[in-house]
């Protein structure tokens, strides 16, 4: 194949990034010097004429992305002549004639032209530059100043994500920002904001399991035997994000105080957590709970926006003011962020168990009142079950009627978001008399701790009929004591289950264990992330965030880009929950294996 080489000249080095699945090379730079920026319509002739033969040595390779040519006459002359149609190449050639989309730097040929031109011609056309980039050896800043005005495009500096770093490499850096850096990074420049908010950027990120925990602040964490109500002695809770893979713990900014009509402010006691959305667009929703000062149930809803890094007050939960209700984020097609937060049951301020239910659309900031459940359910467990289609089901499990305070039933009923109605009551999903709070859904099955809290039980058939519970593995022990009594159990989304609890009921140090268990795993095994002392406080509520984030150790642009392509589509989100790579647990410091 005869390839046009770059003309040597005093032009501007242009680069574009083009990432494609399974690419075998990383040479995605399109670094061209252009003397004359050709018109996009000159498809008949290559925009660059070959002035010298392409050197046959070195890096002439054909890769999935195109043909990489080493153009040896200048320092950064790698040329990738891309194949294919979905190129982020471009036609913005003339000075100042940029055609960037607001969301990023991708520009496309006008569709009519793309269709009309044979592939070969289009390839050549893609040699047209899109982004200007400074090309000069060190010192960069000095060279920049000394550049002749004819080839300087002052506007281009502002357009670079990071000056002097090619666009795709700058993106590689930005994609590694952690969630707590996003709000700041968004304020650096327009380009950064657009980049961080663009779906393209979000696709580059990868699932990374995060746990949101409502955790007691450390100084008070070890007081009092009555753990469940120890919060009343002045416990102060905060939200902490625990990254299971990196074993990092990051507190979220506190809830704005005093906004709750003279209440104590801060994170309500016994609040429920639910996460809606995806990647940087994730919203963490804090629903209900008790006011920290008055202990009155609150209808408050607070939504944390990871991108902006701020809390927003949501619409209040519809009456009655319920406590200890079921709560889960369930995939609903058409809802903003692909999911809604469902609440059901619980009890009102007179301890009457409730049948009522409601759903919160985070994007619209609206509550929708649902039909009542068939049974009264105080202290039920809310579970989200992915449906066959995009619509999931909200399962309300267990609980007790007003007349049977504390005597839990094992039945469950499910709200189908496709038919927008409650299904029939399923009896004996769990054992009668067992509190359902440790129950969680993993794939099509369920996990929970047994009544004594010392075994993990599993059931294959989800909330439906016929499933029998079996013992999976013993809860980790240290010095002969079960480590995680009164635990929170959270499905981590990749088939694993996180168990959060402490060795003693007195409010000892909380530990997070993760159980890896599945068909591929020979023996169920526990991994434990080391937690710094300030993150060992009592955990009152936990929820799993489908955070997609960069995972160190594999370059982002080489991941399967197809995985998240329909971010706004509830169905894609639902299936993606089950597609986590099983690659996270190998590096945690402690690993316990059940023998």
């Amino acid at each position: 194949m005869v390839l046009p080489s770059c003309p040597a000249g005093n032009g501007i080095v242009q680069r574009t990034a083009y990432a494609k699945k399974n690419s075998t090379c990383r040479g995605r730079l399109l670094a061209l010097e252009s003397r004359e920026l050709s018109s996009p319509d000159s498809s008949s002739a290559p925009p660059f004429t070959a002035k010298r033969p392409v050197p046959a040595s070195a890096a002439n390779r054909i890769c999935d992305d195109g043909v990489c040519v080493q153009a040896s006459h200048h320092r950064q002359g790698v040329v990738v002549i891309p194949f294919g149609q979905d190129l982020q190449a471009c036609n913005s050639a003339g000075e100042g004639r940029k055609s960037r989309t607001p969301a990023g730097n991708e520009t496309h040929d006008p569709p009519s032209q793309s269709q009309a031109i044979p592939v070969d011609d289009r390839r050549r056309r893609h040699l047209n530059p899109i982004q200007s980039h400074c090309n000069h050896p060190n010192p960069r800043w000095l060279k920049l100043l000394l550049r002749p005005p004819a080839i300087t495009r002052p506007a281009s500096m502002a357009d670079d994500l990071i000056p002097c770093l090619p666009e795709d490499l700058a993106r590689e850096c930005l994609v590694r920002l952690s969630f707590d850096q996003l709000p700041t990074a968004r304020r650096v420049s327009r380009r950064w904001k657009a980049e961080l908010e663009s779906p393209f950027h979000q696709r580059l990120r990868r699932h990374r399991p995060l746990l949101a925990l409502a955790q007691a602040l450390p100084p008070l964490a070890s007081s009092g035997p009555a753990r469940k109500y120890a919060a009343s002695t002045g416990f102060s809770y905060r939200l902490v994000l625990h990254d299971l893979a990196a074993a990092t713990w990051t507190p979220l900014p506190p809830l704005p105080s005093g906004e709750r009509g003279g209440g104590g402010g801060g994170l309500p006691l016994f609040c429920q957590l639910a996460a809606v959305g995806d990647g940087p667009a994730t919203k963490l929703v804090v629903v209900g709970g008790w006011d920290t000062e008055t202990w009155a149930p609150t209808a408050a809803v607070n939504v944390y926006d990871f991108l902006a890094g701020v809390w927003r007050r949501g619409a209040d939960m519809p009456p009655p003011r319920r406590s200890f209700f079921a709560c889960a984020a369930v995939v609903v097609s058409g809802a903003g962020g692909g999911a809604m937060v469902f609440v059901a049951g619980g009890h009102d301020e007179e301890k009457n168990a409730l049948r009522s239910a409601a759903a919160y659309d985070v994007a619209a900031d609206e509550w929708v009142v649902l039909p009542d459940m068939a049974r009264e359910r105080g202290e039920p467990r809310g579970l989200a079950v992915a449906g066959d289609e995009s619509d999931g089901r909200f399962v309300v499990l267990g609980g007790y009627a007003t007349a049977a305070q504390g005597r839990f039933v094992g039945s469950a009923e499910a709200f189908d978001t496709a038919t927008w109605a409650w299904g029939p009551v399923t009896e004996r999903v769990i054992e009668d008399g067992v509190c359902p709070r440790t129950c969680c859904v993993v794939g099509s099955g369920m996990y929970m701790l047994d009544g004594g809290g010392s075994f993990v039980m599993a059931r294959d058939a989800g909330d439906g009929d016929g499933g029998a519970w079996r013992t999976v593995v013993r809860v980790p022990e240290e010095d002969g004591r079960v480590v995680v009594s009164a635990a929170e159990v959270v499905a981590v989304g990749d088939g694993r289950v996180a168990v959060v609890g402490s060795a003693c009921h007195g409010g000892g140090e909380q530990k997070v264990y993760v159980l890896s268990h599945g068909e591929g795993t020979a023996a169920p095994s526990w991994t434990r992330a080391a937690e710094p002392p300030e993150f060992t406080g009592h955990v009152q509520a936990a929820c799993y965030l489908a955070w997609i984030c960069f995972v160190f150790g594999a370059s982002s642009t080489r991941r399967q880009p197809g995985r998240r392509q329909a971010d706004s589509d509830g169905r894609e989100i639902a299936t993606a929950y089950n597609q986590f790579p099983e690659d996270i647990s190998t590096n945690n410091p402690e690993r316990l294996t059940e023998s």
Binding site: S72, H74, L165, P253
Partner: protein, 186 residues
């Protein structure tokens, strides 16, 4: 490659011997030569691996005209350090298959390696790593750059990376409004 015929058989023998040697010689854009372990180069760089496999390695120094001597020195330094450190299974697999690549933070020596670099040297190294298809080095360097943004205000980030603040006053005000409840500030 041009072989000097005049040197006769001795040259031929030397060439054969060099084909079996365990280092490759790389030549920077400014003509400096660097030797690097062939095994490490092939393991860490997809481009060098392809060149070694394809026989396009020049014994007198393979031209890498895109890479300056300073960056190439760092690349070679990295390869050699890597050859000395016991390669963990994780690192090897990450260069083979990104799907099964385990989560892997930079190792201590890798952190030190990039920490000592100047801003410019780091940027050059990112580009060199990208050009040579060195996944791991690219990870380490990009990670370092993202870490340079950590704990900084937008102003500080702009200063460090020489980014122009192209927000208008109105837009900044809008973002400030958005942050009315926030606890961050410039």
């Amino acid at each position: 490659m041009e072989v000097d015929k005049g040197k006769g058989e001795a040259e031929e023998t030397r060439k054969v011997a060099e084909a079996d040697r365990d280092t490759v010689t790389l030549k920077s854009s400014d003509g400096k030569l660097f030797e690097v372990s062939k095994e490490a180069a092939a393991r860490l760089s997809t481009v060098l691996a392809g060149m070694i496999a394809g026989g396009s390695i020049d014994d007198n120094g393979t031209d890498l005209k895109q890479i300056g001597s300073e960056a190439l020195e760092n690349v070679v330094d990295y390869c050699n350090k890597h050859a000395n450190s016991i390669p963990s299974a994780a690192l090897i697999s990450s260069s083979i298959s990104f799907n099964t690549a385990p989560f892997k933070e930079p190792e201590e020596w890798e952190r030190k390696f990039v920490d000592r670099l100047s801003h410019d040297a780091l940027f050059d190294l990112v580009e060199a790593a990208n050009f040579l298809g060195m996944e791991r080095l690219l990870d380490v360097t990009c990670h370092k750059i993202s870490e340079m943004m950590k704990g900084k205000s937008p102003d500080q980030i702009r200063e460090v990376f020489n980014i122009k603040n192209d927000y208008t006053k109105e837009e900044l005000e809008e973002i400030r409004q958005e942050l009315a409840w926030a606890f961050y500030d410039d």
